[in-house]
């Protein structure tokens, strides 16, 4: 019996492939295999002999089966190892290409501004870019002869010879949206109006189209002090700098009274602007208390309601915050610029997650 065991264990150990192993299984423990035949002989044995041989034969059969299984696993492992060795790839080759899209800074900053003002209860209003002369000027207390009209470098739309209405204009500011919002909603109201605006000016720092966001808040007791707080909060949140300091300067806009231009404390060093430090002041926006005539144009009673309005350039604050040097490049669609200054699709600005990375 030991011979039998040694013979098969040696043969199994030497088996080079699965078919040899299968042959050995049939020879040893198959139906007619040597060990199976021996087990059949147990019946002819005396009970005493059977007591001894039975367990021995069973043990031998188990041992052979285990050896077969172990060898089978070893062969399969070796085969897999061999295959894996052959499957070597150069992992330094570049991956399959994937285009990376970007969001334009104007869109990103508009969303940032929206997120901040939404938290203060301002909705977003939009309106026409081709605007009536009345909405763009008269309703905002800029009558036809007002010098501000000439100073605004207005684009006028062509007017057919048989149409005697004053020509429409490309809106020079988003203020007409304030008028339309007041007409539609009445008071109280809080809206911001972001969008494209147009002025006939093109040089180093001006483009004939740019973006503005204006804000309007009308209620029973809103004051200029509230305006200052709102703008301070906005600038702190937008520029993501705690120590923002604003300076209000008396100024004049036809649509607000009193009016103030707002400067932000900053420093210029080596061509880099830093907000919230230094001794320079940079003008960033215009603002004031809404003129009674403008409230009336929006069908709101100036004796009962009061509030503020402000406006600033979206492109401009984008340039300040993200250090973008040239306004003209905003509208040139140079792929290199879009990639460098653009934002990832999932970088959606929120107040809880932060506005910028």
């Amino acid at each position: 019996m030991d011979d039998l065991r040694d013979k098969y264990l040696a043969a199994i150990a030497n088996a080079g492939d699965e078919s040899t192993l299968e042959d050995l299984r049939v020879q040893a423990v198959g139906k007619k295999g040597e060990i199976s035949l021996k087990m059949r002989e147990l019946g002819k044995m005396t009970p005493e002999e059977r007591q001894i041989m039975g367990p021995k034969l069973n043990a031998l059969k188990d041992e052979i089966n285990s050896a077969l299984a172990a060898k089978k696993q070893a062969l399969s492992d070796a085969a897999l190892d061999e295959r894996l060795r052959a499957e070597w790839l150069d992992v330094t080759l570049p991956a399959r290409g994937r285009r990376m899209g970007t969001i334009h800074p104007v869109s990103q900053v508009t969303e940032e501004v929206t997120a901040i003002f939404a938290d203060m209860g301002f909705a977003v209003a939009e309106g026409p870019q081709v605007e009536s002369d009345w909405h763009n000027f008269d309703a905002l207390n800029i009558p036809g002869h007002h010098p501000a009209r000439a100073e605004m470098d207005t684009f006028y739309m062509h007017r057919a010879a048989d149409d005697d209405r004053p020509p429409h204009v490309l809106r020079t500011h988003t203020s007409p949206v304030q008028i339309r919002s007041m007409e539609a909603q009445g008071a109280p109201i809080r809206v911001i109006c972001p969008g494209r605006v147009y002025r006939a000016d093109y040089d180093q720092t001006h483009t004939p189209m740019f973006h503005q966001v204006e804000g309007l808040a009308i209620d029973k007791d809103i004051s200029m002090a509230n305006l200052k707080w709102v703008l301070e909060e906005f600038c702190r949140a937008f520029f993501e700098v705690d120590g923002v300091e604003l300076r209000f300067r008396a100024s004049h806009f036809p649509f607000t009274e009193p009016s103030a231009e707002v400067d932000i404390r900053c420093s210029w060093a080596d061509g880099t602007l830093k907000i919230g430090e230094g001794d320079d002041w940079l003008e960033i926006l215009g603002s004031g208390m809404v003129h009674p005539k403008v409230l009336m144009a929006g069908d709101i009673d100036p004796a009962a309601w009061q509030g503020f309005a402000f406006g600033m350039g979206i492109d401009r604050i984008a340039m300040l915050k993200y250090g973008i040097p040239d306004l003209r490049a905003f509208f040139d669609s140079d792929l290199r610029w879009l990639r460098h200054y653009g934002f990832a699709s999932l970088d959606q600005p929120t107040l809880h997650g932060g506005l910028s990375r």
């Binding site: 969001i103 684009f155 739309m157 300067r249 009274e257």
Partner: protein, 799 residues
Amino acid sequence: MKFTLSWLKDHLETEASVAEIAEALTDLGLEVEEISNPAERLSEFTIGKVVSAEKHPDADKLKVCQVETDEGQTQIICGAPNAREGITVVVAKPGVYVPGIDTTIGVGKIRGIESYGMMASEREMELSEEHDGIIELPSGEVGERFTDWLAVHDPAKVDPVIEIAITPNRPDALGVRGIALDLAARGLGTMKPAPEAQVEGQFPCPIAVTIDEDTREGGCEVFAGRLIRGIKNGPSPEWLQDRLRAIGLRPISALVDVTNFFTFDRNRPLHVFDADKVTGDLRVHRTTGGETLMGLDEKEYTFGPGQVVISDDTGVESIGGIMGGLSTGCTDETTNVFLEAAVWDHVQIATTGRALKINSDARYRNERGIDPAFNMQAIELATQMILDLCGGEPSEVIIAGEVPDVSRAYRLDPARVQSLVGMDIPEAEQRQTLTALGFRLEGDMAHVPSWRPDVMGEADLVEEVARVASLTKLEGKPLARGQVGVPKPILSPMQRREQAARRTTAALGYNECVTYSFIDQASAARFGGGGDATMLANPISSEMSHMRPDLLPGLLQAAARNQARGMSDLALFEVGHAFEGGEPEQQHVQVTGLLVGRNGPKDVHGASRPVDLYDAKADAEAILSAMGAPVKVQILRDGPEWFHPGRHGRICLGPKKVLGIFGELHPRVLEQMDVKGPAVAFTLFPAEIPLPRKKSASRGAMTVSDLQAVERDFAFVVDTQVEALTLVNAAAGADKALIEDVRVFDEFIGGSLGEGKKSLAVTVRLQPTDTTLKEADIDEVSKKIVEKVEKATGGTLRG
């Protein structure tokens, strides 16, 4: 508006420094743009005395000078011809910056001898062009600061010049006295009394003036004039020339300089005619159109109808309130002068000035508004000054029209001022401020001074009080939210759609562009626009003449620019408005994407291939889905002509409701727009997507079957023009309950199928809901599918 400190001090008694004045002006709304202060620039120059001057041993033209300075005697080598013993000079010691030569003085050796500074000429200190030698002062103590000496002996040279920006509402600040008044109200000094004059006329004015009846209204309110005879014109005195030069004006002659003085001193434009060149009387009237005048600027102007001018018997001699005529202008030979002080309608001035394109100081002031009540004093003051400078004998003053009454009063409501500004300004202070600005308070009514045309209501009083109280000092006060609690969402469904579209498109690998809303006519015309309704009347260039009818031309131009820079594979998009007409409501939002070239650079994986319309379609579908468009849509043909006629589709809900268009761009359009293809694009219309009906956020229960789904493949041979969607819809209609999905997985054209035929293979997925499918059930459905498809497409099951 420029003025000098000494000019300001003509009107304002003040000890305030230039810096304090500048800060107050900016805060008051008179924003300081520039301060030029020579005293500051030259503060380190001191006075010295040359004790000895000997010839340099090694240079003929140089002298070795011993100079007494505040730091003792020092040695200076000097090349000036006038350097000599005993003269009083201006010394720049080592370390002093000399602006005229842009150099900081150091200790140096000149031809072997040490020099410890320099003695300066006027040009080196930028005081004048004088450079013939070093300055020799007639007086001055050693060690005294040169600027202090100048302040006493030649103050004009160290007079700081302040330039401020004037907002259109503040014509009063276009005169130095108006600026002084603002500063006095702020507490930076006290007003000096205004000069007054009353000159008796010696004879009747020989020139009469009339204003036409139709010109009184909206033309000329009042015209005052007088003749001054026997004057002697010539250069004005040094002090007046210095003033004018300091603010950038060229002194011309005494007569002209007097008018310029009042223009800037009191915001009071005046005009002087050479009376000998005036023929007959003067008449203020409206033009009929076509008249011409050679202006003082030596340009010829042709008038339109209705403009207000001053004529004599020979024709137009002056454009009222805007510019005089050359032929009646004063010269050095003028001996008889006719002086004019008039009040013109400011709207008329603005329109005429704009029409004639004249930007004169007179127009600038008259269109913003001068002080009408000052008119009669102005002519007296100017007469007095002419008499002082030029001599002569004045006539009586003649007047046409009447000085307009601009008196008005508004109620001052101190509580409202506090409520609007949000600042605690006591009533007494409010009244005090207004009084200081020239308002007259009667009870709670504030009477507006005649020089403030901008104050037209109660709100203007608030502004006056607030700006004098200083907005810089305003403290922010929190603005409570409109509603208590967590803020509600504020974006409209359309705004959310645009945002979703923008971020999804970027996530699909497109770069967002913002292109101009106006494009050239040819490009606009190619994309269904370019008509007169969307044309700008005054475009900035022919490249920007028409409102864009579509976003594609702008993106194609962007693509062409990028290709010119060597970037050929592009994925660009824009979300923005297109304009179908020229009325305010004729705009709509588009989401437009453009793919050009290959889907990526060539790579080892062989994944790079030219973009095709199915790329555009996949992206269009993904973005529509992100915007909440329904899944079930129709794809129709016959879209706009800028797409390839056979390779585009309109994504529709019914024939009239177009959600978007995708496809390959027409090769001719690419050629015209200079873009190297292939190029595919999509344009989506977010506003066309129906709003969801349901209001609840709930998704509803999920229904899934545990029973095994079965898939069967079918291939049909159909004509090549048969569309896959027809086949898919037919198959899906065979058993709507059982068939979950029909998917095209193969298309094969030509070959053994023959000309004009193609094979389309679909996988049909059957999902039973109550019992497991048996072979017989499957066969039955299969039969129906084949029948339906064959009927709908005229094709046959491929054997």
